[in-house]
Amino acid sequence: MIISVASGKGGTGKTTIAANLALALAQNVQFLDCDVEEPNGHIFIKPEIEKTTTIGTPIPVVDEGKCTYCGKCQKICEYNAIAVILKNVLVFPELCHSCAGCWLICHENAISTRDRELGVLEQGKANGIDFVHGRLRLGEAMSPPLIRRVQQQLDMSKTIIIDSPPGTSCPVIQAVKHSDFVILVAEPTPFGLNDLKLAVEMVRTLKLPLGVVINRSDIGNENVRNYCQMEGIDILMEIKNDRKIAEAYSRGIPLIEIEPDYADRFRELYAQVERRVAR
């Protein structure tokens, strides 16, 4: 089973939920941190990294000895990543989406490829958890291809927990789209509600089942609960706003370590998700 933890708003507690869920299960679990722009899961899971792989994406290299400057490559490229100007071909690597259009269309076979580095993939283990995360190279704009590579490490024999990036656009879609269930983490504030609504719409567009965890549940107001009730969305768990929890978080200490009662609550959260997926 693949469970994704996502949220429209950043900083609502995605990583807290995803990491503690993985740590509470601690058996036959794979943790994929798909927030490749700012991965934080490792701070709480503390894996021993065993393997680091540099991940690239192919971009065109033009052999001007073979090129006839016909301009077909420029015409097919929707991203303005290749231009033919008089007897020159210019490639703009950072604009290329690696669609292969230019090298497939070139009749002279004048285009080969080289890799643009997207970032690194790191894999490791920590007491019963297989850990994978991606780390986007600074300056690289496109995270979805690296997220795709993190997901290629899926081990379907395990319970898979995905920590998603925040938001509702392409990186999030890429992170959650193969899930069996999406846990949306929200805080009960006006910003939290606004971004929860966007996230719910996104998950519904993907036709995936979802439930909500309310973090810092005693701040703000009742509107997130009212919204969930009106929309028929189950609230799976609530976590109170507690200075002790926040301070432990700040030092990278998992919630279930300072509040051991939460281990059972996270296992119960998992059981709830399992029942809903089985339905």
Binding site: G10, N40, P166, C170, T189
Partner: protein
């Protein structure tokens, strides 16, 4: 005219709260919300929308089943696994590259522009606001961010504004790169947690080392972990980052948000006082009174 972008690396550190506070503190400014993916600034600024435009960007392939000969060429050339074995394009996976369109021997694939969202020009009690809403599950957030900034610049010229205050997105990817490229300065809002520290270092490196921008750091909820706050100040010292100040945890920030107010309007407490000092520090530095 100076364009100041507020970013954070990690989400939820208080970017929008601080942007909304600066919006009222800085006189003669235009405000832009470039967190087009999960925009929240309007919840405080309560904009009166004066102009609304559709945002079209990117294309999606659509196979006309009646004309399709099921030859399989499109599936073969698609590098995004966006076409099913029965020749239906999944619009969510389609990157809009048009390679299938170019290679289809039956010319059976339509390729139309997507309506990806809307953008708005509004009046607010703190000045003009340019903002946007990216459609659900849509792409091209970077292009929408560029468009919002361009409109904000035009507006600032027209109004002869001294500052553009920009609320940015979390992360270090496409929308963040689009919102900081060519800006006058960035203010990184972080929190004193290991996650905050990790993410702050990445986004500071992106802004400072990669884009060579003048970078300020502001630690929100600084009293949560004074040791990490201290580390962040040291990091600023050794990395050429201007330390702009600390904002203490102040529960009136959430209560202000619930009432749709910024922290100066609600009940100016310790956080409000700190933000006032931070802005004075940023403005002094930008005017060259300090280095």
């Amino acid at each position: 005219m100076k364009e100041i972008v507020i970013i954070s690396g990690k989400g939820g550190t208080g970017k929008t709260t601080i942007t909304a506070a600066l919006a009222s503190l800085v006189k003669n400014n235009v405000i832009a919300d470039c967190d087009v993916d999960a925009a929240d600034l309007h919840l405080i600024l309560n904009p009166d929308i004066r102009q609304q435009e559709d945002f079209f960007s990117g294309k999606t392939a659509f196979i006309r089943q009646g004309d399709c000969t099921q030859c399989g060429k499109c599936v073969e050339v698609c590098h995004f696994d966006a076409i099913s074995p029965d020749f239906v394009v999944d619009p969510v996976s389609c990157e809009g590259c048009g390679v299938c369109v170019a290679f289809c021997p039956a010319y059976a694939i339509d390729f139309n522009q997507n309506l990806c969202g809307q953008w708005f020009i509004s009046k607010t009690r703190f000045g003009s606001l340019v903002h946007a809403k990216l459609g659900i599950a849509e792409e091209n957030s970077g292009k929408l961010v560029s468009l919002v900034r361009k409109q904000a610049k035009q507006m600032a010229k027209k109004e002869n504004a001294e500052y553009i205050i920009v609320d940015g997105a979390p992360g270090v990817g496409c929308p963040v790169i689009s919102s900081i490229t060519g800006a006058s300065a960035v203010i990184v809002v972080t929190e004193p947690t290991l996650s905050g520290l990790h993410d702050m270092k990445r986004v500071v490196s992106l802004a400072g080392d990669f884009f060579q921008l003048s970078t300020f750091l502001c630690v929100n909820k600084a009293d949560l972990n004074p040791d990490i706050t201290e580390k962040m100040m040291e990091f600023c010292d050794t990395n050429g980052v201007h330390f702009a100040g600390r904002v203490p945890y102040d529960e009136s920030t959430t209560r202000a948000m619930v009432e749709g107010k910024n922290i100066f309007e609600f009940k100016p407490g310790p956080a409000a006082a700190a933000i006032r000092e931070i802005w004075a520090e940023v403005e002094d530095t930008l005017r060259g009174n300090k280095n």
